[in-house]
């Protein structure tokens, strides 16, 4: 059978950054083809080019043998390509049927023929065996039902090719089963499906063919029969290991103690599922995992930005459960946040003002409510020197700094208070090599000085290079713990993908 869709040598450049590098991808009619890779591997970019939301820098897309290029999502859907986004685009105040037909409503002159709409949608649910109550208002629908609406929407609009972007991220195991069944049924009815995911178990259950992306390039294309989850994990991750520096063994007492954390998410799924961990003084504990498995939320509950339903958080002797962010900072928590522009800085403020945040009450920087600006300024200038931050002066606006330099500033700020505990989330995301090494050195030094550090990163090499102990998070739980000596990229990537590892052997996942 010839290929329905062919993406040939697609390249997408953002400035000098290659998001996609000569990527080729094929899709047959009636096939389920999984597009697999880590965060930042280029999966979403590739699909955005297909769907008309980005223009390729070079390369060619062919549909039914004819070269096409879409200038907008509306274009794509007209040609039969529909995308089900990760973040649902629904209207809670409208009914299921109304949501599905919006934009293509059956009409009688100027009037909306709602009866026809309901009938049409009802027919659709039966044809494709996707059961949902068409009369229900979407605000009363579960997350799983909302996803069904999104799928029915693209079917209603006549999609022959359906792209699903991380569809199971927010579903309960039961809902996942239903979805996979639906996907196989749709394929049997002649629809062609592209599923973007990093859940290797599900890929093995549902896909016919699998393309693995890594760092913007195709790492491998294989059919289901020729592979398994283990093999896929290797293709996803295979990176050169960095030199591991020699290390003083840590021997501190347990400092951070987290017990039984639960956190409810938007749907019925728990974002944090009974998480317990501890970090000792002079130790770096790294949390490995693909983004979106609860790591961000874990750090947010420890820092106090999010309230948990239940569980306890202790720092040394102090019980921090339920305390405010400020109280936790005063107890000795520093925090390098995940998104530097949203949480970590204020673009319109100067470097000085940014560097003060979180510490404006400290005795060294303020007295009786008044800021000691001069003392503060000299601290900032020291940091600029120490971390080689490229800035014209401490009065420059933070938004003008490059990403790497801003990150260095944030790291300097959080390390500069000599706290006993540090939360570090993606500390070197989007940062050049030089800055990355500088930040890594600083983190190791802090650890050697006796602080406890909890590190979250989707960069496996960073986790392996820095951590004394590594925990792996998957679907809101801690699914594995490996010491520095035990950890290999292989083992970690299996755990990250939901598989199991026993001792030194790797269990085969079907």
């Amino acid at each position: 059978m010839s290929e329905l869709l062919q993406l040939t040598n697609l390249t997408k450049k953002y400035g000098s950054f290659l998001a996609n590098n000569n990527v080729s991808f094929k899709l047959k009619k009636g096939e389920v083809h999984a597009l697999v890779g880590e965060n930042g591997a280029g999966k979403t970019t590739l699909m955005r080019m297909l769907y008309g939301m980005e223009k390729p820098s070079s390369g060619n897309i062919q549909l039914h043998g004819k070269t096409i290029s879409f200038s907008s999502p509306a274009d794509a859907i007209k040609n039969g390509i529909g995308m089900v986004h990760q973040h649902f685009m629904v209207f809670p105040h409208f009914t299921v049927a109304e949501n599905i037909v919006l934009g293509h409503e059956p009409k009688k002159g100027l009037f909306f023929n709602r009866r026809q709409a309901k009938a049409d949608v009802q027919q659709l649910t039966q044809t494709y065996q996707i059961s949902v109550d068409v009369h229900k208002k979407v605000k009363h629908c579960s997350i799983g039902e909302q996803q069904k609406i999104e799928i029915l929407k693209v079917l209603y609009q006549g999609a022959e090719i359906i792209i699903l972007d991380e569809p199971t991220a927010v579903l309960t195991p039961h809902e996942v089963k239903e979805l996979l069944k639906t996907i196989r049924f749709l394929a049997s009815q002649g629809k062609s499906i592209i599923i973007i995911t990093h859940k290797l178990q599900e890929v093995m259950e549902v896909a016919d063919r699998i393309t693995v992306l890594r760092n913007g390039k195709v790492a491998g294309v294989t059919s289901k029969e020729d592979t398994n989850a283990h093999h896929l994990a290797r293709l996803m991750v295979g990176r050169e290991l960095k030199e591991r520096p020699a290390r003083i063994p840590s021997q501190g007492t347990s400092h951070l103690n987290v017990q039984n954390l639960f956190l409810k998410g938007k749907g019925q799924k728990n974002v944090l599922q009974n998480v317990s961990l501890h970090v000792s003084a002079g130790e770096i504990v790294g949390i490995a995992g693909v983004s979106g498995n609860g790591q961000s939320e874990l750090l947010q509950t420890i820092s106090g930005l999010v309230e948990t339903g239940s569980g306890s958080i202790k720092l040394g002797d102090e019980d921090l459960t339920g305390r405010s962010v400020r109280e936790r900072r005063e107890a000795g928590i520093a925090h390098i946040p995940e998104d530097r522009y949203m949480w970590g800085a204020s673009k319109d403020d100067t470097i000085e003002e940014n560097a003060l945040m979180g510490y404006q009450y400290k005795a060294s920087y303020s007295k009786m409510g008044w800021l000691k600006r001069k003392i503060f300024k000299s601290s900032v200038e020291e940091w600029i020197n120490e971390f080689s931050i490229k800035a014209t002066s401490s009065k420059q606006k933070a938004g003008e700094l490059s990403g790497g330099n801003l990150q260095k500033l944030i790291v300097a700020r959080e390390l500069g208070q000599n706290t006993s505990f540090l939360l570090a989330a993606e500390p070197t995301r989007g940062v050049d090599i030089g800055a990355m090494e500088r930040i890594h050195d600083a983190l190791i030094q802090k650890r050697n000085n006796g602080s406890a550090i909890l590190l979250v990163s989707s960069e496996l090499s960073e986790i392996i290079s820095l951590s004394d102990r590594i925990l792996v998070m998957y679907e809101g739980s801690i699914v594995g713990e490996l010491t520095r000596e035990e950890a290999t990229e292989e083992k970690l990537s299996i755990l990250m993908a939901g598989g199991t590892v026993e001792g030194d052997t790797v269990a085969e996942t079907s």
Partner: protein
């Protein structure tokens, strides 16, 4: 040097807006047959022509300045306090009642009245803030609604229980307060009173607080990036409530000063008709919520208004030309019509239009 450049850059926009506003006013005037040159001359004279007019301008600027400082401070914290009119009025009526009925020597009456004005305005404002914190009733709406309720209530007080029953005319106003409780004039026979100086001091104080204090730092941060502030441990709700209180108490003070320094009683409508509160909002926006800048924009708008009164006295041109110029000015400012804006818009279009 960089500082100076930056300062000049931030001034360009308001200056262009002012020029534009005056120009549009000029066009309208010439369209209706007036003389543009004569208009501008009379405007200037009406505002600054002699010492009496000059002090009238400054006297008018006082309530505008105070309210603008309050509104600007709230804006800095990222909070929309549109209740200045209501807060001013409750401050005024509180001052009028306390100053008349408190059995105490004049100076004590004066101080108590000022305190009453501050507290009344602040509490009304905090009420709206509390409603948002507790019930998510948006400030923009609740402050607008409370304006009406407050003004009507004060109107009732002045027209019924606390009405000045002396004299034959049944006016909605409170009795005149004794001279010992008056806020002194700065110059004999001129309408300018000490309130103006206090307002100037207030502006300097606010500027200092915003720039050098921890609280000011938190206010600024909350306004610029609330998530960053939350991350840093800033208690958003506390900052909002404090800002609302300060904002409301400044408006209340404005009302109190008008009563204690200009009219010596609460006269229903005397504070709302001249539109002090909305002018204050405009002055704050024009100055981008900078307390020192607000001094100048308040003076500018007050001058525009008194100048227009002079214009009307000496020509056929109605004083409403000032409102027109004021409105055009603000419209222009709100359009963010600068090179940077165009550049940013184009950049955004490029990124989106890449498909």
């Amino acid at each position: 040097m960089i500082q100076l450049q930056k300062l000049l850059k931030s001034l360009i926009q308001p200056v262009i807006a002012v020029i534009f506003g005056l120009a549009i006013g000029g066009i309208i005037i010439s369209l209706t047959g007036g003389s543009v040159l004569q208009t501008y001359t009379e405007l200037w004279n009406g505002a600054f022509g002699n010492f009496y007019f000059f002090s009238t301008t400054l006297a008018r600027a006082t309530p505008i300045l105070l309210i603008a400082l309050g509104v600007g401070f709230a804006f800095r914290a990222g909070v929309f306090n549109l209740g200045g009119e209501g807060q001013m009025v409750v401050g005024a009526i509180s001052a009028a009642i306390v100053a008349y009925y408190l059995p105490a020597p004049g100076i004590v009456k004066l101080i108590a009245a000022i305190a009453a004005a501050v507290v009344a305005g602040g509490l009304l404002s905090v009420l709206a803030g509390w409603m948002e914190a507790a019930f998510k009733i948006q400030l923009v709406i609740s402050t607008l609604l409370l304006n009406y309720i407050a003004v009507l209530f004060a109107s009732y007080l002045a027209g019924h229980p606390f009405q000045d029953k002396t004299g034959s005319a049944a006016l909605a106003q409170t009795p005149m307060i004794e001279q010992g409780a008056w806020l002194g004039k700065l110059f004999q026979g001129m309408p300018l009173h000490i309130g103006f100086i206090i307002a100037l001091i207030g502006a300097l104080l606010l500027w200092t607080v915003l720039r050098y204090s921890v609280f000011g730092y938190e206010v600024n941060a909350s306004g610029k990036n609330p998530w960053f502030g939350a991350y840093g441990g800033i208690h958003q709700v506390k900052v909002m409530l404090f800002s609302m209180f300060i904002s409301g108490s400044l408006a209340g003070l404005a009302g109190g000063f008008e009563v204690l320094g200009s009219q010596y009683r609460f006269v229903d409508g005397a504070l709302t008709v001249p539109g002090y509160a909305w002018t204050g909002v405009m002055a704050a926006l024009l100055a981008n919520s900078n307390p020192i800048g607000i001094i100048f924009t308040s003076l500018l708008l007050a001058a525009l208004q008194t100048g227009a009164m002079g214009l009307e006295r000496n020509t056929d041109i109605p004083l409403e030309i000032a409102s027109i110029m004021q409105a055009v000015l603000i419209l222009f400012i709100s359009a963010k019509f600068t090179k940077q804006w165009w550049k940013a818009k184009k950049k955004g279009a490029d990124i989106r239009g890449a498909a």
